[in-house]
């Protein structure tokens, strides 16, 4: 016999304003094994907790039902109350009568009250079958993995390393630096982007706590918070990086020098088949592009490959193979960044029709003095003089056909570009900015906008309908300026499109690998939009930077430090309490068929031979690895696998309770 107490929360008017709580209390009092039931305004408050605690003592309760909000929010709160009252925390059952009831049925008071009774009846039925569960602990691996070597990953890795943690930093490209390395200047301070980024990149390379894996990808992640097992694939660079000193003689000698489109320069410049992405690369080690190199593609490069001939350190190794590195970490920070929406998706803006229609990232490389044109603007189509440049903001952003959201960097980026253009090209140049709204929300941003308003710039509030290429190659578009109510026709030599930001290519697969969810926009989803902005749906995995959503550099850096700090809350512990609602095997029913083992994402199930049994096999659960997801229990064909706290008899009791109710 158990003694159940039922506590029904009004949640102010959230529940109380819809559900007749007194009626539900009265109903609950009449349920089998319920010895006490009461309502209270805010059950999660201190007085609410005291009420439960006192009632447990006064009525000698040993099972508690709380009918309130989602257990996601307050189950830990009420479990703590039970522990205070010397009860096992798993003797608690919650009925969600807020999200599942009052919030969705607020226009139907009678039905909401009836449904609350159903939910309470189910919770009480399950409470009658609850058993105290033991708790488990696991050891924490005091090392961390950071995926992505842009400014977010760099900052997170540095913060963790400086707090004494060992960090593995994995970057897909040959160098860390990410998008920020491609920028010329940063808004609104006009700091040279690489001048402020390079020192941080150097700090990464010098920090003994950081183990850097560039030109590498994470290919497998197993385990759970405190103990992840990760496989890192190191792609072959065909250069022995232990020998390479970054002298660059090989690139100068390469037969394909200045022939291969250079990704770092958004393919506006050319590089060799053996290359570093940019001169400040970290590590400053050369990589051979297997899709370009004649030796790797054809097995022959003239009489003898010049890169190998000139390398005095004998670092070139065409036979290099990819390798897998296994690492073991307690926590993972994902910082994979963003891509630009393919501007050709908006056909009307002509990105595919004229080389003079470019993206803002391409513009960034063109205006940069170390870029492919040395910072000088000319028409890419014919090298002609540029007399007018137009910026088109919100290309695919804030657009219900493509991306609903704001890119958060387009406005300020264009203002910065207008400033740089005026500085480089002088007063003769016409600059037009077609905007939707100028969003200058950050610190110092509005002031910067004011400065640009003061240098001669045409601000046109409207989106062009389409950009046409005239016979002379110049670009013409019609735009309706909503501030003056005038239809304007503008002719420019260069049009800079500012496309929407989208998650970095490959984010979907990575998200699946580390088991974190993505929002409708494809960006990784934070655990709570306000209060857990760097946590994810999987414990121990954190997100930082633009992989979570578009943001500017200061926000990225702040978020990266936040993620590092959150990661430290795990890394600073020696042991973690793990779930108690683990799976258990009924050895009498288990036939050892093995269906459960491969469905377990955590590798917690092993099929073992029973000692002295003539070869009988059964499933065995490693409780330290089990996360209590219940997938094995649903896969088991014989009912031998059950999850504690969600056993068949417990769920059946709930179903019986609701299906036998008179409604």
């Amino acid at each position: 016999m158990v003694r159940i107490g039922v506590f029904i929360c009004h949640c102010g008017t959230n529940i109380g304003g819809v559900v007749d709580v007194d009626d539900v209390v009265q109903f609950a009092s009449g349920l089998e094994d319920v010895v006490f039931a009461t309502g209270y305004r805010y059950m999660c408050s201190d007085p609410g907790g005291r009420l439960i605690n006192d009632s447990i003592k006064e009525h000698e309760l040993d099972r508690i039902v709380v009918a309130a909000c989602s257990p996601r929010m307050h189950e830990p709160t009420f479990q703590a109350v039970l522990v205070d009252a010397d009860l096992n925390p798993y003797c608690l059952e919650m009925a969600n009568i807020r999200e599942h009831c009052s919030w969705v049925h607020k226009n139907d008071v009678d039905e909401a009250t009836r449904k609350s009774k159903d939910l309470v009846a189910m919770a009480v039925a399950k409470a009658r079958t609850l058993e105290p569960l033991e708790s488990y602990h696991k050891n924490v691996v005091h090392e961390a993995l950071v995926i992505g070597g842009g400014i977010a990953g760099i900052q997170a890795a540095l913060d963790l390393a400086e707090s004494g943690r060992k960090v593995y930093l994995v970057e897909r490209e040959p160098s860390i630096g990410g998008r920020m390395a491609q920028l010329d200047k940063t808004f609104p301070t006009l700091d040279c982007s690489s001048c402020i980024l390079t020192p941080k990149m150097m700090d990464v390379s010098r920090n003994p706590n950081i183990e850097l894996y560039t030109y590498s990808e994470v290919v497998d992640v197993e385990g759970s918070v405190g103990d992840f097992k990760v496989k890192i694939k190191r792609k072959p660079t065909y250069v022995d990086w232990d020998k390479c000193n970054g002298c660059g003689e090989c690139a100068l000698a390469c037969r394909l020098k200045d022939r291969i489109p250079d990704e770092f320069n958004e393919k506006l410049g050319k590089r060799s088949a053996i290359y570093v992405p940019f001169q400040q690369a970290v590590p400053l080690k050369y990589t051979i592009d297997p899709n370009a190199c004649l030796m790797l593609r054809l097995g022959k490069c003239g009489d003898s490959p010049p890169c190998k001939d000139v390398c005095t350190l004998d670092a070139i190794d065409y036979g290099q193979k990819e390798s897998i590195v296994d690492v073991n970490v307690g926590t993972i920070i994902v910082a994979t960044g963003y891509d630009m929406l393919d501007a050709a998706e908006m056909y009307e803006y002509g990105y595919s029709r004229s080389p003079d229609i470019i993206t803002n990232l391409e513009f960034e490389r063109l205006i940069c003095s170390s870029g492919p044109t040395g910072g000088k603007m000319h028409r890419l189509s014919d090298g002609g003089e540029v007399k007018s440049v137009s910026f088109i903001l919100c290309v695919g952003s804030r657009d219900k056909d493509l991306k609903d959201y704001c890119c958060r960097i387009g406005c300020m980026g264009a203002l910065k570009h207008a400033y740089l253009l005026r500085e480089h090209e002088g007063d003769g140049l016409e600059i037009n900015i077609c905007y939707t709204d100028i969003r200058s929300f950050g610190k110092g941003y509005e002031e910067f906008y004011g400065r640009i308003r003061d240098i001669e710039t045409n601000f046109i509030r409207g989106r062009p309908s389409e950009i046409k290429v005239q016979d002379d190659g110049r670009l013409v578009y019609d735009v309706f300026d909503t501030t003056t109510q005038k239809l304007l026709q503008v002719t420019s030599d260069v049009v800079v499109l500012v496309p929407a930001l989208v998650p970095r290519n490959g984010a979907e697969d990575l998200g699946r690998m580390v088991k974190i969810s993505r929002g409708a926009d494809g960006f990784f989803l934070e655990s709570h939009p306000k209060l857990k902005p760097v946590d994810t749906s999987t414990d121990g995995i954190f997100i930082a930077g633009c992989c979570q959503g578009p943001k500017d550099i200061p926000d990225v850096v702040a978020q990266a430090s936040g993620a590092a700090s959150r990661a430290n809350t795990i890394l600073s512990k020696d042991v973690l309490a793990s779930v108690s609602t683990v799976s258990v095997v009924n050895e009498d029913l288990c036939s050892g068929c093995g269906i459960c083992a491969p469905v377990c994402d955590y590798g917690a199930i092993e099929i073992v031979e029973v000692a002295d049994s003539d070869g009988k096999k059964i499933a065995e659960v490693d409780v330290a690895l089990c996360k209590g997801c219940g997938v094995c229990a649903s896969a088991c064909p014989s009912g031998a696998m059950e999850q504690k706290g969600f056993k068949c008899e417990q769920l059946s009791a709930m179903i019986r309770a609701v299906s036998s109710r008179d409604s």
Binding site: M346, Y347, E348, D401, E466, K468, V469, Q470
Partner: protein, 292 residues
């Protein structure tokens, strides 16, 4: 023979006879039996901005008449086609309005079921008949002709309801032109307005749009302009002279329905395609035939 119901709307049977003639002449060669459906009325589109539910009712009534006979619909007027698409889009997502419309249809013993398949010539030829069969039937090569494509706005817009081709970069008409041996270059003004919609209240602006587009086609050196919309055709063909006067230039652009051009490529008698009804100098487009 595949039976397909023909829904002509208002402009084709009252003025753009050539379009109807060419359709009736050409489509049977592709195994289609065109059926006239009794009792159809206005497509509803002209009332769209005055009374949306009346538009829905009129359009749903036409749809119901086709559904009653289990016929697919061919609506060669993009304006009518769009009305059908929009009505289906709205009624299929709005059970309340659908109930209301059906209550009215009940008086005539009709029901809107939402099962109709409807086509414009563009998707019927491109997606159903297919380029291969068109190539097969095109005996007379139109090689040497470079024909500008004019889609018309209702055929491709708005993009949030199903349309026969892409809103910003439609290509099916060019593919169909290439299928009969003609070339169809891209031109900047391809999606520009024909002017038809403001002809009544802003006739000068309307004819300016018409004239400017024709000037562009002429300047580019096209052999002619192909249309798939009776409204656009009427502007570019019947009103070419007024458009020339309005823009103060001389215009001399052969304007032809694509289906007429297809008929010529199939070796049909020009008179059976209504070519004598085109006001623009389409004789020039028939010239290549003589060499064959």
């Amino acid at each position: 023979m595949t039976r397909i119901g023909l829904y002509l709307g208002c402009l084709i049977p009252t003025e753009q006879y050539a379009y109807e003639m060419a359709i009736r002449e050409v489509l049977p060669d592709f195994g289609m039996e065109l059926v006239d459906v009794e009792g159809v009325a206005c497509c509803g589109a002209p009332l769209r901005h005055i009374n949306l539910s009346l538009t829905m009712y009129l359009s749903a009534r036409n749809i119901a008449l086709f559904e009653k006979d289990d016929l697919d619909m061919l609506a060669p007027c993009p304006y009518c086609h769009q009305a059908v698409s929009e009505t289906k889009h709205v009624l299929d997502g709005n059970p309340e309005l659908r109930k209301n419309v059906n209550a009215h249809l009940k008086e005539e013993g009709l029901t809107y079921r939402g099962t109709l398949r409807h086509y414009h010539l563009l998707d019927l030829l491109h997606d159903i008949v297919g380029v291969d069969r068109i190539k097969e039937k095109a005996k007379v090569s139109l090689e040497g002709l470079n024909i500008a494509a004019h889609y018309g706005c209702h055929l491709i817009r708005p993009n949030d309801i199903p349309r026969p081709d892409d809103s910003e970069n439609p290509q099916k008409m060019e593919t169909l032109l290439e299928a009969i041996g003609a070339k169809s270059d891209y031109y900047n003004e391809k999606l520009d307005c024909c002017g038809a919609h403001i002809l009544l209240n802003e006739s000068e602006s309307a004819l300016t749009k018409t004239g400017q587009k024709l000037q562009a086609v002429q300047k580019h050196g096209f052999s002619g302009l192909a249309t798939m919309c009776p409204w656009g055709h009427r502007m570019f063909d019947s009103k070419q002279d007024s458009a020339a006067q309005t823009v103060g230039g001389s215009l001399d652009v052969p304007v032809i329905y694509y289906i007429q051009l297809l008929g010529l490529a199939m070796g049909k008698d020009p008179a059976s395609l209504g070519m004598n009804l085109n006001r623009s100098p389409v004789d020039r487009l028939m010239a290549p035939r003589e060499g064959v």
